[in-house]
């Protein structure tokens, strides 16, 4: 292949990986102790360590990306390396899909297996008869076998609005991408800013919905498996939206600084893929958590 480079760029030594490892170590250790302390409502050192870890991670990210951007701008990346990044990003997204898969799996299991069994389905007639005689298997599970009551979250209204927001943002982002390919910088900026704004609005509504759930519906993280799956799925999704929005925000800054063009846009493309992925997850969420 004639376009194949004959030389390959191997980066020089770098401090950032080990700094990143230290950061993750501190975060894990701190988060663990913080969790223990919080559950006992004791004061401790956990949150300091966690904070330190996040700080170190931040430094690492800034440093690493600075190096990366510098190399990229200096044209040290060739086609092959860009392809490596692309594949890497795609497989990373695949791993995220599987992570959400675990929680969707839990949701389906709870709905289609655990709750019906507690109500006596399949080979569990005696379970219902002897252990949970008053339990009725329904979904959303508004009354758990243990007796916790809650209300279900409807899909109309805020969730529907949020769905439209996110889907729109995917479209605007796509326009941004087209603008980049076409070299139309001002359109690119416009669509990109719009996308970030839509993402932030989504997050705002999501927060509002949580308050509503806790305050008005009695739907909490602890209100049985319906609440568990609801909050963990939407919660992890929310974290990913935050991350994605952050990535797009940085891309916006870089676009304003004149970075990226048709041939040199891996970072931009990675963020775009990530955003579309987050969007797809939301659509699944909307269907399986809210509507059905």
């Amino acid at each position: 292949m004639s376009t194949e480079p004959t030389k390959y760029y191997v980066p020089d030594q770098s401090v950032w990986p080990i700094v990143g490892a230290l950061a993750l170590g501190l975060m894990a250790f701190g988060a663990a102790h913080f969790t223990i302390e919080a559950s006992k409502q004791e004061a401790g050192f956990g949150h300091y360590v966690l904070g330190a870890g996040i700080f170190v991670l931040f430094i690492m990210l800034v440093g690493w990306f600075r190096d990366q951007i510098r190399e990229s701008r200096a044209g040290m990346h060739n086609l092959q390396l860009n392809r490596s990044y692309k594949y890497g990003m795609l497989w990373f997204i695949f791993s995220e899909v599987m992570f959400f898969g675990a929680f969707f799996g839990a949701l389906f299991y709870a709905r289609m297996i655990a709750v019906p069994w507690l109500g006596g389905a399949s080979n569990n007639a005696m379970t219902a008869q002897l252990l949970w005689p008053h339990f009725e298997a329904i979904w959303p599970l508004t009354l758990t076998p243990g007796g916790t009551e809650t209300q279900a979250m409807g899909w109309f209204g805020l969730p529907l609005l949020n769905t439209m927001l996110l889907v729109t943002s995917s479209i605007t982002l796509h326009f941004a991408h087209i603008a980049l390919e076409a070299g139309n910088r001002s359109k690119l900026k416009l669509w990109l800013v719009l996308t970030v704004a839509l993402g932030v609005t989504f997050l705002f509504f999501q927060g509002y919905e949580y308050v509503h759930a806790y305050r008005d519906l009695g739907l909490t993280l602890a209100s049985g498996v319906y609440g568990n799956t609801f909050f963990l799925l939407t919660g992890f999704h929310g974290v990913h939206v935050t991350l994605g929005a952050l990535m797009l925000f940085i891309m916006t800054l870089r676009v304003f600084a004149g970075h990226f063009d048709k041939d040199n846009q891996f970072a931009f493309m990675g963020s775009v893929w990530y955003w579309h992925f987050v969007d797809v997850v939301w659509v699944c969420l909307f269907v399986f958590v809210y509507v059905l």
Partner: protein, 381 residues
């Protein structure tokens, strides 16, 4: 070469072991065929699969052995160059497949039979909890719990080990022979697993769910089993002992048991009106404590830091009496501390609480009487 080593090894192991085998005369190397139709079928299936595997292993290893002996460089062999043969590759894909079908068919038949609990004549609820089994005869007024009977002294080597070391309980499960008995297996806390090898039954006891299983015992006798799912520190110390009796003997036993339990309940009512002396309470309490509580809170009341709370000199045992009664009677939900109201009588509860409030230097001087427990429970309702 490999095979030679293997047999050498076996000779070695056998030699090492010979004195023991001769002395104990009960070294078992294979699965027990068991004493029900089902267990016999399971055993036969096991032997079938085992022999198939042995034949496959012998086949594969002999070809290898021949190759290793003959096709070596030191024999002056020149290497052949073939590296593909579609025909033979297809053959050795299909043959294993056929062997597998030969195993799957009897396995399916046995499984369908094993999983069919219909038409049972007696149902028993088996409940695991850390670390004992509760048995409840659904068709009779009989329920009790069954705890390891081997004393700590034997476990820690201060006394010689008895013949049925770790295989003995205070109250065995009694079952009739020639009757389809259904077990309804569940748990109060973590997952346990109820296993009696002779019946070929092993079923997990999942908290909040009931699993079903069944047996039909052919011969009277004593059968011993284990908890087979890791359930914490006492996992090795919650054995199962089943005594199988002829149906008539079983009827007799179950009725005498019903009467005995009824009499005990009556006695309990009488005790409510009586006061026990401190010595009586402490003696009874000590026994109960050692058999029921010491597994977690330790015989000296020290508990295990971070796992089971210390009772000596701190906490509820030297604090508010009602809170103390409450936790022993009702347990603490979501923790290993279970509710003892169903497994201990009121006087036993009173005694163990008194014991805890006065042992190991907890000299609160408080006495708790059966009537106090009675009043506490009444007050709750």
């Amino acid at each position: 070469m490999k095979i030679k080593t293997k047999s050498l090894l076996w000779a070695l192991a056998a030699a090492l072991n010979a004195p023991n085998v001769l002395a104990s005369n009960e070294l078992r190397l294979n699965m027990p065929p068991g004493i029900s139709d089902m267990s016999q079928k399971v055993y036969d299936l096991h032997m079938l699969v085992f022999y198939i595997c042995v034949v496959i292993a012998v086949g594969v290893f002999s070809v290898m052995l021949v190759s290793i002996i003959r096709h070596r460089k030191s024999n002056g062999r020149k290497p052949a160059t073939f590296h593909e043969n579609i025909k033979i590759e297809i053959i050795w894909t299909i043959i294993p497949f056929i062997i597998l079908i030969a195993m799957a068919v009897p396995a399916t038949i046995t499984l369908l039979e094993l999983d069919n609990t219909d038409d049972s004549e007696l149902s028993i609820v088996v409940t695991g909890s850390q670390w004992r089994w509760h048995y409840n005869y659904l068709d009779y007024d009989v329920q009790f719990q069954s705890i390891l009977a081997t004393p700590n002294e034997q476990i820690y080597g201060r006394l010689p080990k008895s013949e049925n070391y770790l295989h003995e309980v205070d109250r065995p499960l009694v079952l009739p022979t020639n009757t389809k008995v259904r077990f309804l297996i569940t748990s109060e806390d973590v997952i346990h697993s109820w296993w009696v090898p002779e019946f070929a039954i092993k079923r997990d006891a999942n908290p909040g769910y009931i699993n079903e299983s069944w047996t039909n015992i052919k011969e009277p006798g004593i059968y011993r089993g284990f908890c087979a799912e890791l359930c914490g520190q006492g996992h090795a110390f919650m054995p199962i002992v089943v005594i199988a009796k002829e149906p008539a003997d079983f009827e007799a036993w179950v009725h005498s048991e019903e009467q005995r339990l009824a009499a005990e309940a009556e006695q309990e009512q009488k005790l409510l009106a009586m006061e026990m002396s401190k010595d009586e309470l402490m003696d009874l309490g000590r026994n109960i404590y050692l058999s029921q509580c010491a597994a977690c809170h330790q015989p000296n009341g020290q508990g295990i830091p971070g796992v089971f709370p210390k009772l000596a000199g701190e906490g509820m045992a030297v604090g508010d009496k009602t809170a103390h009664i409450n936790i022993v009677v009702n347990g603490s939900s979501g923790t290993a501390m279970q509710a003892f109201r169903s497994s201990l009588s009121m006087s036993e509860l009173a005694a163990v609480i008194t014991y805890e409030r006065n042992a190991w230097g907890n000299n609160t001087g408080d006495l708790v009487q059966a009537a106090d427990i009675f009043n506490f429970i009444q007050g709750e309702e």
